[in-house]
Structures are given as structure tokens and as C-alpha cells.
């Protein structure tokens, strides 16, 4: 389980923002926090499979653009209706200006 995949350049994502990353038929959301840390989750909301990368990042929260469902993108925890199922999270590292995600 060492499937590190290059997702994007570190500078591709603004601070406190999110970006979509598709790989091998799967879709992920890559986050850059206000503290310049990087995180990754599954890219689709667990409620109705909407791309979270179109949503809003506020503090530790990603808000789904369709129904405003909220997750903590650092832990994947669902933070209230209409989302009830947590997001899967993935390990992320930054190496030589590239954001790598362990997709395995």
C-alpha cells in the first residue's frame, strides 16, 4: 500500500481552497488549509455524489455545493445533515513542490 501519486503542483491550489484530482477512474479532492497544510479526501459528497471541489472551504470544513452538507476535510467526519456518512481521507505529502496522494 505505497501508491503515492502526483496530484498537482503545490501552488496549483490557493490557500483555504480545494481542487479536484481524477486518477484511475476515481476522483479525489485535494485541500490546502490556511496554515499551508495539504489534505485529501474522496472527491464526491457521500450524500449525493456531487464534486466537493466545487464547494467552499472554511476553516477545517468543506461544504458541498449542492446541499451545503459539511465535512471536516482533515478527518473526513460528517458534520451534520444532509450528510450522515464520513468521507474517506488519504495521506498527502509535498515533495519538491508537488502534492502526492497515497491513493491505495
Amino acid at each position: 500500500m505505497n501508491d503515492w501519486v502526483e496530484a498537482c503542483a503545490a501552488d496549483d491550489i490557493d490557500e483555504e481552497d480545494v481542487m479536484r484530482f481524477d486518477h484511475d477512474g476515481r476522483t479525489f479532492a485535494i485541500y490546502r488549509s490556511a496554515a499551508d497544510e495539504y489534505f485529501a479526501t474522496d472527491g464526491l459528497c457521500t450524500h449525493e455524489k456531487v464534486h466537493l471541489a466545487d464547494g467552499l472551504v472554511m476553516d477545517d470544513i468543506i461544504e458541498c455545493p449542492k446541499h451545503n452538507g459539511r465535512f471536516n476535510y482533515k478527518t473526513g467526519a460528517a458534520r451534520g445533515a444532509p450528510v450522515c456518512v464520513n468521507l474517506k481521507t488519504y495521506r498527502v505529502k509535498v515533495d519538491a513542490g508537488k502534492v502526492l496522494v497515497q491513493v491505495g
Partner: protein
């Protein structure tokens, strides 16, 4: 995606509900006007300031008008105070529960939650049930059999629509649902959109509300006066007219079973008082297309994307002038609807998705 050759079945567990799921009309990918990520991020930004200001005005006016009504109770001077109190209680709460339910009014979530609970009580909408029904409304907007919030079905029941202005049927159904929920009963239709783990919350809220209304009625009986009910409960009837007046315009007379909000929703220019009561939900196409945008940013969103939307209806009166003839014609032909024309700058409707519906539209 074809229109039913016979009468529409609006039941959430009926024929058209099943058909919408089977033919992909439910949970479909809807049309969105192109907006850059940078612009959308700016529009989506949350702020406590505008909603705190508006809530202070709202609650201040509610308390002042209620106090005036109590002070002048027994004389005709109480009428204008209760007129204002009723609209603030029975109409402005429609937009407050809605915006706070989306979580967009305030940046601070507990503020959204508090106003959401207060407004839900006043408008008599179970905060659990309606959170989930509204979620479905945004997933399947005006999809027959899927959307639980279609206010005027086809063929239109005009008596029911008129009674909505005094809240009679709404309050009756709300009270019936409250008592049923308080007894621990979640209906089959409610079960289609309220997850099982949330159903207990709906029951708990219904029991709390039942206790509040029982206490209010007991106080009225004890004091031998209607006054407690004029303050709690009845304003949902005598103050409902404004939210129904503006609410019917949201989708009334427009297309159903389409996946483009430009076809099934209406943006209406309104006076500033109505926009305050309605929290800018007159920008209804914009709200449905981008529900993440807070009410206070909707005028900016409208300015940004209006080139891609049908021309806004210029006033509430103009909205009724175009909607009422459609309702009357739908009494004879329920497939008839008003097709919103797009400006030359707009991307066209995806006719391949809507051809059957559009064929039935007004010229």
C-alpha cells in the same frame, strides 16, 4: 424524458416517482451557468455581519409590533401592529428557516441553527422533516413525484392556492403532521426523504412543539382571551399572505420535469421591503443554480450571470399577470406551461433533455 400521457402523480411513492428514478430525471446533472472558480469563491464567502444586522431588525420589529398589539389589544389600534407582527412571524420566517437551513445566512453555524429552530417553529415546519424535504427539492426541483415542495400542482387547485394566503390548509396540515409525529408516526412519504437515524429527532421536536401549543391554548382558556394565540400560532394564518404571494412566483406556471432551473424557476424584481422579508429569494433561478451563495450576495450573482438567464420578471404584479393565465389554462390542459425565453447572450436550453416538455409550452 417524456411527459406523462395522463394525469401527473405527485405522490412521493407513486407512479411518477418511480418513473423519474428509472428515466434518470431524478438526481440528474443540472445546467449551470459558467462562473469562474475565483468569482464563485468570492460570492460564496460567508459573513455574520449582514444576517446579524437583519436579524436584529427582524427580532426588534417583531417584539415592538407584538408589544404594540398587546398594548392596544381590545381596540382597533392593535390591527396595524398585528398586521406587521403577523408578516414578521408568519411570512419572514419562510425565508429565515430556508436560508439558515442552507447554512448560508451566517458564517457561524450555531447562529444558523438557532434562527433555523425559531423560524421553523413560527412557520410550523418540522426542522428535521423540512431540512430533508428541502434537500430533495434542490436535488429534484419540480420533478413530479420526487419534489415534496411543489406548491401548485397540475392541474392547479386554485382554491387551495388561495387558502394558502391565509394559511388555513398549511396550518391544518402542519398541526396534523405535528400531532402524528408527536405520536411517533413517520409517514411512508416522509420515510422516502428522512433518513432513519434522523426520524427520532423529528418526533422529539414534534413533542416539544405540541407542549408549547398546548400551553398557549391553556393560557388562552385560563385568561379567557385570544391574545396568547394572536402571539403564538395564529400569526401563521393572518400573516402568511406575503410568503405565499412571493413563494408562488418561485416556480408557478413554469416547466416541470426539466433539469435546467432557467426553465422551472423565476427571478422577480421586488421592492426593498419584500426583499427584506424574503431575504432576496426573489433571485430564485440564481439561488437554485448556486445554493451556496448567501442571500446577501444574490444581487451580485444575478448581475454576473443574468446574460445567461431569462429576463427577470419586472415586478410581483407582472409575475401574477403572467402566472394566473397559465394556471387557468392548465385547468383544461395540464401540460401547458410558460416557457421562459432566453436572451441572445445565453447558452440555449439542452433541447434533447427537454424537447417533450418544451413542445407543450406556450409559444
Amino acid at each position: 424524458m417524456t411527459n406523462a400521457p395522463f394525469r401527473r402523480d405527485y405522490s412521493l411513492i407513486g407512479r411518477d416517482a418511480k418513473r423519474a428514478v428509472e428515466n434518470g430525471l431524478s438526481a440528474a446533472e443540472w445546467y449551470h451557468t459558467d462562473v469562474s472558480r475565483k468569482q464563485m469563491k468570492e460570492l460564496m464567502q460567508r459573513s455574520d455581519g449582514p444576517a446579524i444586522r437583519d436579524t436584529a431588525i427582524w427580532l426588534g420589529a417583531l417584539i415592538a409590533s407584538g408589544a404594540g398589539g398587546v398594548w392596544f389589544w381590545g381596540s382597533w389600534w392593535c390591527v396595524p401592529f398585528f398586521f406587521v407582527y403577523g408578516v414578521l412571524y408568519g411570512s419572514s420566517t419562510d425565508s429565515r428557516w430556508h436560508e439558515c437551513g442552507h447554512g448560508t445566512a451566517f458564517r457561524t453555524q450555531w447562529m444558523n441553527d438557532v434562527i433555523y429552530q425559531i423560524a421553523c417553529f413560527m412557520i410550523m415546519r418540522n426542522p428535521v422533516t423540512w431540512r430533508w424535504s428541502h434537500t430533495r427539492h434542490h436535488t429534484d426541483t419540480i420533478i413530479v413525484g420526487r419534489d415534496p415542495e411543489i406548491s401548485v400542482m397540475r392541474p392547479p387547485d386554485l382554491v387551495r392556492a388561495l387558502l394558502g394566503f391565509v394559511g388555513v390548509l398549511d396550518a391544518w396540515h402542519a398541526m396534523s403532521d405535528m400531532l402524528r409525529n408527536a405520536a411517533g408516526n413517520i409517514s411512508a412519504a416522509e420515510k422516502t426523504f428522512i433518513p432513519e437515524q434522523e426520524q427520532g429527532k423529528a418526533i422529539r421536536i414534534a413533542r416539544i412543539w405540541t407542549a408549547i401549543y398546548a400551553a398557549t391554548i391553556a393560557l388562552a382558556l385560563y385568561s379567557g382571551s385570544f391574545l396568547p394565540l394572536m402571539l403564538v400560532g395564529l400569526p401563521r394564518l393572518y400573516g402568511a399572505w406575503h410568503h405565499v404571494m412571493v413563494g408562488l412566483l418561485q416556480h408557478g406556471g413554469l416547466a416541470d420535469n426539466v433539469i435546467d432551473h432557467r426553465l422551472n424557476s423565476r427571478t422577480v424584481y421586488m421592492n426593498p421591503i419584500s426583499r427584506f422579508i424574503y431575504w432576496n429569494m426573489n433571485y430564485h433561478v440564481e439561488h437554485h443554480m448556486f445554493p451556496m451563495v448567501p442571500y446577501h450576495a444574490l444581487p451580485k450573482l444575478h448581475a454576473l450571470i443574468k446574460h445567461d438567464l431569462p429576463a427577470p420578471t419586472p415586478s410581483i404584479l407582472a409575475g401574477y399577470r403572467e402566472m394566473i393565465p397559465v394556471f387557468l389554462r392548465q385547468l383544461r390542459n395540464e401540460d401547458y406551461f410558460l416557457k421562459r425565453e432566453l436572451p441572445p447572450t445565453a447558452r440555449p436550453y439542452r433541447e434533447e433533455f427537454h424537447s417533450d416538455a418544451i413542445a407543450a409550452a406556450a409559444e
